[in-house]
């Protein structure tokens, strides 16, 4: 390294820093929240470069008075709204209980989606039931919306003898082809190009099904994200690419994924694909954006990237304590509110719901989860002996077990016999 040239100012490195750290008071008054109903809704056949502004605003439907307003209002009937509300409530109840189960030592790991329920639930409702989802680990709402059995989710979480994945996967890494839910990977964003590939295959076959995928704000930095965007734009794949911007990636705020410079929805502009930025805590906005993107995809207009602007209310997982790296006041100061409460307020405002029914529903969800948990625990909890037979460990590496795995299987059986276990 030579001495800096004297006639030039020295360079300096910018390292992002979140606005609030532990001890700071959280103040989100500078977050720009456009009024509900203010974003225009282009025709789904419009060219992607004709609505760039939608990548920089927030599509919002629910206003402060709980009314659904503006061109993005999906005008759902009350039953659909109540189903949406219930799926979100169920997701939250499920999260609460399973988080607790982990704390009680019944399993190794859990991840909540608290505050982000709309992103998976409302999106799922806006898609067809046979459309294919490629989620990250925080979209349990998809399965719960599609009616996947709670007991099976819990069996997976407990890695017990009834685990549909035979105890092979970390808790919450569900997989269900029947429910259009692709096997979750531990490696971030790998599902993105896979979703594009699935969508391309569907298009190549003249099918009508589309794909959707989700990743977090932090995960958008992975190379897989880029490869997915490139394939999606080149082949106009019928796919919805969701970025759940909950503003945190473990301890790193979204500035480390580039959020200081622009929005995540703007990534879409860089590839010439449609991009929307949505209030992710507004279930109706999420629904409307997804429905719009699905229609584009189904009419061969290609992919849409949707940034869901939301906030991760709790820790990253059972493994961290968020107050070690961010202001404890953030979750409550966060201006976009709680997605469940906002949808509830809307239903109340339109006279289709009240506090009593809400309380009853909450009780019902809690009961349903509790019942399922009891059921699941009959099949065992992690580390208490009720798991799949040991031999199964060697199955499914390949379609057929090759000789070397058979030998290892025998070795394992002999080993256990020798040890008297």
């Amino acid at each position: 390294m030579d001495a800096p040239r004297a006639n030039l100012p020295p360079l300096s490195l910018h390292v992002p820093e979140p606005k609030f750290r532990p001890g700071d008071e959280a103040d989100f008054s500078d977050v720009d929240v456009p009024p509900a109903g203010s974003a225009r809704r282009p025709d789904t056949a419009d060219k992607a470069d004709s609505f760039h502004e939608l990548a920089y605003t927030l599509i919002r439907v629910l206003d402060d008075a709980g009314q659904a307003v503006g061109p993005w209002n999906p005008r759902l009937d009350a039953d659909a709204l109540r189903k949406m509300l219930r799926s979100m409530a169920l997701t939250r109840a499920f999260d609460e209980r399973m988080f607790r189960a982990q704390r009680q030592g019944k399993t190794s790991f859990y991840m909540k989606s608290t505050g982000e329920e709309a992103v998976s639930v409302a999106a799922t409702m806006a898609m067809a039931s046979d459309d294919m989802c490629f989620p990250s680990y925080r979209q349990q709402g998809i399965l719960l919306t599609r009616g996947y059995p709670l007991v099976d989710m819990m069996n997976q979480i407990y890695s017990n003898s009834a685990d549909p994945l035979q105890g092979r996967q970390l808790p919450i890494m569900y997989s269900s082809k029947d429910y259009g839910f692709f096997s979750i990977s531990g490696n971030l964003t790998t599902q993105y190009p896979q979703a594009v590939g699935w969508a391309m295959a569907s298009a190549a076959k003249g099918d009508t099904r589309i794909a959707a995928t989700w990743c977090g704000d932090g995960s958008t930095a992975e190379g897989d994200f880029h490869s997915a965007m490139i394939f999606a734009t080149v082949y106009k794949a019928p796919v919805i690419l969701n970025v759940v911007n909950n503003q945190w990636a473990i301890s790193s705020f979204s500035g480390f994924a580039g959020a200081e410079a622009t929005t995540f929805a703007a990534r879409a502009i860089g590839y010439g694909i449609a991009g929307l930025r949505v209030d992710g805590n507004d279930a109706l906005a999420v629904y409307a954006a997804t429905q719009w993107a699905a229609e584009r995809a189904r009419t061969n207009q290609g992919p849409t990237l949707i940034e869901h602007f939301t906030y991760r209310t709790e820790g990253h997982s059972t493994s961290d304590d968020p107050t070690a790296y961010r202001s404890a006041g953030e979750p409550t100061a966060w201006p976009l509110g709680d997605p469940i409460r906002r949808l509830k307020d809307h239903l109340v405002a339109i006279g289709e719901w009240d506090e009593e029914r809400q309380a009853a529903m909450d009780r019902e969800c809690a009961e349903e989860v509790k019942r399922a948990q009891k059921e699941a625990e009959k099949n065992g909890i992690l580390g208490h002996g009720m798991h799949q037979p040991f031999e199964t460990m060697f199955e499914g590496v390949f379609e057929d077990i090759p000789w070397h795995l058979k030998e290892q299987q025998q070795q394992m059986i002999a080993e256990r016999k020798a040890a008297g276990i």
């Binding site: 096997s183 990977s185 699935w198 190379g223 590496v397 390949f398």
Partner: protein, 345 residues
């Protein structure tokens, strides 16, 4: 001219055989697609996919963006949908960007989803040196993949095997890495780089049936029977070994592994127990190459039959140097020296 050739079995070089395997499979299976950099209109930089786009259309044989992550990731998604993708990685040296999709995804999908989703993809890629390709067009990365549970690794050494193995790989419901020894695309190579190149026509294994046939995965081929020493090899090295053995007049048994995972351990064990000596030849760098696994297995299973240490003849633990290519390449001299040593030991 042999009977088969007289009866109309066409002669093919390795590229033609590989092309024919894909052609046959695309004809039979409407779900099979080929994809990769320059594989569509142009037919691949080595011409392996020539004609397929014209015959089967752009949605079944197409060019891709230059992102190996994407090529494999998209192929996995297509496979999950129900297609049978055969992506090409232009050179095996460029497979590393895709490693996560191969290792953490393709190879693990069946297991982690308990069979709910599978990845029936066959990744084709030319590999190996001897064409003055320098360090990034010459590598032999097969060893890495043999360490990854859930992926099969296949390497042909003749046109006949190339077609039969590729068809078997495509029909296999697990991910297969199909590495093509590019040095022998156009003719067998005996390691004498200073002699005129030969083409495949004179080689019996260039008689390649036009239609569908399979060479089973996991089965080695005994290229030459012998009593003095067992030589395990694959790809280009099969020919270098065979010619060296011939020149030296050694009664070696030469086994062409053809599939590295799953390995044909029975063939290996039987041969080494017969000869009492074992030599392993590959072009890849030595340390932790697949030769290490072979040596470990052979000594585990044939310890009491071994009369000499197992010899490894390999590329050196350096990048493939451009100008000193032939000093790097495990050719007749290196193999010959090792043979002399193992027979003396």
């Amino acid at each position: 001219m042999s009977d088969a050739a007289q009866a109309g079995t066409p002669r093919m070089n390795m590229i033609q055989a590989i092309n024919s395997a894909m052609d046959v499979m695309m004809e039979r299976d409407p779900n099979m697609v080929v994809m990769g950099e320059d594989v569509g209109y142009f037919g691949g930089v080595f011409r392996a996919t020539a004609g397929l786009q014209a015959k089967y259309g752009k949605t079944r044989a197409f060019d891709t963006p230059i992102t190996e992550i994407g090529i494999i990731g998209v192929a996995i998604g297509m496979g999950a949908y129900g297609l049978r993708p055969v992506p090409e990685i232009q050179f095996a040296d460029y497979i590393y960007p895709a490693l996560d999709q191969l290792v953490s995804e393709a190879a693990r999908l069946r297991y982690r989803s308990n069979g709910d989703f599978t990845s029936p993809i066959t990744v084709r890629s030319p590999y190996g040196g001897g064409i003055f390709g320098g360090q990034t067009h010459s590598q032999s990365p097969e060893g890495i993949f043999t360490h990854v549970s859930g992926i099969k690794t296949v390497i042909p050494s003749t046109p006949y095997d190339a077609k039969g193995l590729l068809i078997a790989a495509i029909e296999d419901n697990d991910p297969v890495l199909f590495l093509e020894p590019k040095r022998i695309y156009n003719g067998p190579f005996d390691g004498h780089y200073d002699r005129p190149a030969r083409n495949w026509t004179a080689h019996p294994a260039s008689e390649v049936p036009a239609g569908h046939y399979r060479v089973e995965l996991g089965k080695a081929a005994t290229v030459r029977e012998g009593e003095a020493v067992t030589i395990l090899c694959y790809g280009t090295m099969v020919h270098v070994v065979a010619s060296t053995v011939e020149e030296m007049g050694v009664d070696a048994e030469i086994i062409d592994l053809r599939t590295l995972v799953p390995l044909d351990i029975d063939a290996i064990e039987a041969s080494v127990k017969k000869t009492g000596r074992c030599m392993i030849v590959h072009e890849a760098t030595r340390t932790s190459g697949f030769g290490a696994e072979l040596a470990a297995l052979v000594q585990e299973r044939c310890f009491y039959h071994l009369e000499a240490p197992i010899e490894r003849v390999t590329g050196f633990d350096t990048p493939y140097p451009h100008s000193l290519e032939w000093a790097y390449f495990p050719g007749p001299v290196r193999i010959g020296e090792a043979l002399k040593k193992i027979l003396k030991d």
